[in-house]
């Protein structure tokens, strides 16, 4: 039911993101790069889609609450065969379907996000629904560290813990940046792990680019402490994979030109070897 046979090779996924960002002159490249390994591990080993269908009634749910990273998810969905090749070469062309932020009209994208702090609550509702229906469906909600400035995240955290939604896992992409700069300098979050733990979550921090470590952390959280929702704090690098984009917040907004596209591809190829 999971997709162990597919590679979800991180440099290939990043190359897909670069190709489509270049084709569409799109922004938010760095936002996508920080969550590549997280998505690769989830799609490969944890998300169950019966019959490989994105809208199977009994699927697990991946809720991309940080809609800005959607190109990373498109890259994974391409590998699953859920999107046409045209969707990538024609990205952002007039009348095209794939938007610059997650849109639930696309099967495989569970929510319409981009306005931050929404997907967490929808995910809590999905997890509660699975409990009420007594299914074993799991819900993974991917949020940005900047996103957890939003109040509804903490409303939902209270609810998930109070109702012991052990089928709910929030994964925080802690890349240390938000739109205008460093999270530490804008609204200091302190220890995100401790915050979720204090709300009643079973929380673990992990290197968000180490796929083996991510895999073990997710398994560990799913197996232990059966009465708690889970929080996985993934320490990541915004722009990961292309050195000149890493920790350079300009790549939240910057569009690729011919030269930066070539340089980025060259950097990825070097990394892939």
């Amino acid at each position: 039911m999971t997709n162990l046979s597919k590679s979800f090779h991180a440099p290939d996924l990043r190359k897909t993101v670069l190709d489509m960002a270049y084709a569409g002159s799109a922004v938010h490249i760095a936002c996508a790069f920080s969550i590549i390994e997280i998505l690769a591990v989830l799609y490969r080993s944890h998300l169950r889609y019966p019959d490989n269908k994105p809208n199977s009634a009994l699927r697990d749910y991946l809720v991309l609450s940080k809609g800005h990273g959607v190109m990373a998810q498109y890259a994974c969905m391409r590998e699953l065969g859920w999107l046409s090749e045209d969707a990538f070469t024609q990205y952002f062309s007039d009348g095209s379907d794939l938007k610059g932020l997650s849109d639930s009209r696309i099967p495989g994208l569970e929510v319409t996000s981009g306005s931050l702090g929404h997907g967490f609550s929808v995910g809590v509702g999905l997890a509660l629904a699975a409990k009420l229906k007594k299914t074993d469906q799991k819900v993974f909600v991917l949020v940005g560290d900047g996103e957890i400035n939003e109040g509804p995240i903490w409303e939902g955290a209270l609810f998930a813990a109070h109702h012991q939604l052990n089928n709910f896992m929030v994964i925080v992409d802690e890349n240390g940046f938000q739109a205008m700069g460093l999270t530490d300098e804008i609204l200091n979050l302190g220890s995100i792990e401790e915050k979720f733990a204090s709300f009643g979550f079973d929380a673990i921090s992990v290197d968000g680019h180490d796929e083996a470590a991510l895999d073990i952390a997710i398994q560990t959280l799913m197996q232990r402490n059966p009465h708690q929702p889970k929080a996985l704090i993934a320490k990541t690098i915004k722009g990961k994979g292309v050195p000149f984009m890493e920790n350079n917040n300009a790549w939240h907004y910057t569009r690729l030109n011919d030269s930066s596209f070539e340089d980025a591809i060259a950097a990825l190829n070097k990394d892939a070897k």
Partner: protein, 305 residues
Amino acid sequence: MRAAFSNAIVKLAKNDPQVLLLTGDHGYALFDEFRKACPQQYINAGIAEQNMVGMAAGLAKAGFKPIVYGLSAFVPIRVLEQIKLDVAHDHLPVIFIGDGAGFVYSHLGTSHQSTEDIACARVIPNLSVYSPADAHELTACMEAAYQSHSAVYIRMGKSDRDEVHAAPLSPKTGDLLAIKQTPHSTLAFIATGSLSSTALALASTQYPKASVWSAPFIKPINTNQVIEICKQHQQIVTLEEHSVFGGLGSTIAEISSAHSPSHILRIGVEDRFSTHCGSYEYLLKEHGLDSNAIIQKIDRFLIPK
């Protein structure tokens, strides 16, 4: 109206286990019957309305039919973006109940009063807006909302005013309901919510040439019926315990201007918050919505130009 609401949600939940009631820690005694009859379908989401509506969307995506209850100052106003993005965008079957609309909380001030909710809800695609006037209309609105399998905002205002209907109704969604029909009437009153009973009383005592319609459905509304009313009457007065911007009056004026331009007086809350507190009747007076003030407005309107 509140007993009718309690009966309606108990009936829906008993007949359909997918129906869930979510409340943002409001509705103290209102849910006694529901909690007794369907305890497994009752969820107090805490004082956390934004999360409550997001969760309702998740529950609806998974096949449930949530009824989300709050005060209209909070549902839909505080959670408008969650309604738009999480629920309406995805055509999800969630019923939103905004209780205490208008000036019901007359002593509590602006925080708990809501005269902008219809306007805000009306502009959200895929979201219907109902505004019942009495228990019969409320019962019909609840049934229509459930049958619609889509997102509906139901505005519950002052609940203990006079009934405007004598018996249960089965209206077609969108229909305006004639509550006083006067042959060859030249003046039409179209009212919604609490002011339907005011309109009926005024027509009966002061304006013998007036016919009166109550509009429990603001969106969708039966456009052809509105056009017919506009064509058949020289003058139209709309009445609502809501801003004169964006509510029932605006709806009627929009339809009229496109299809049958009419002379329309929109009676409602002018563009202002309450200044003072007092009884409900006092607040209506402060806003010029008591009978005397309404008569003055109508009489000025009726003077031939």
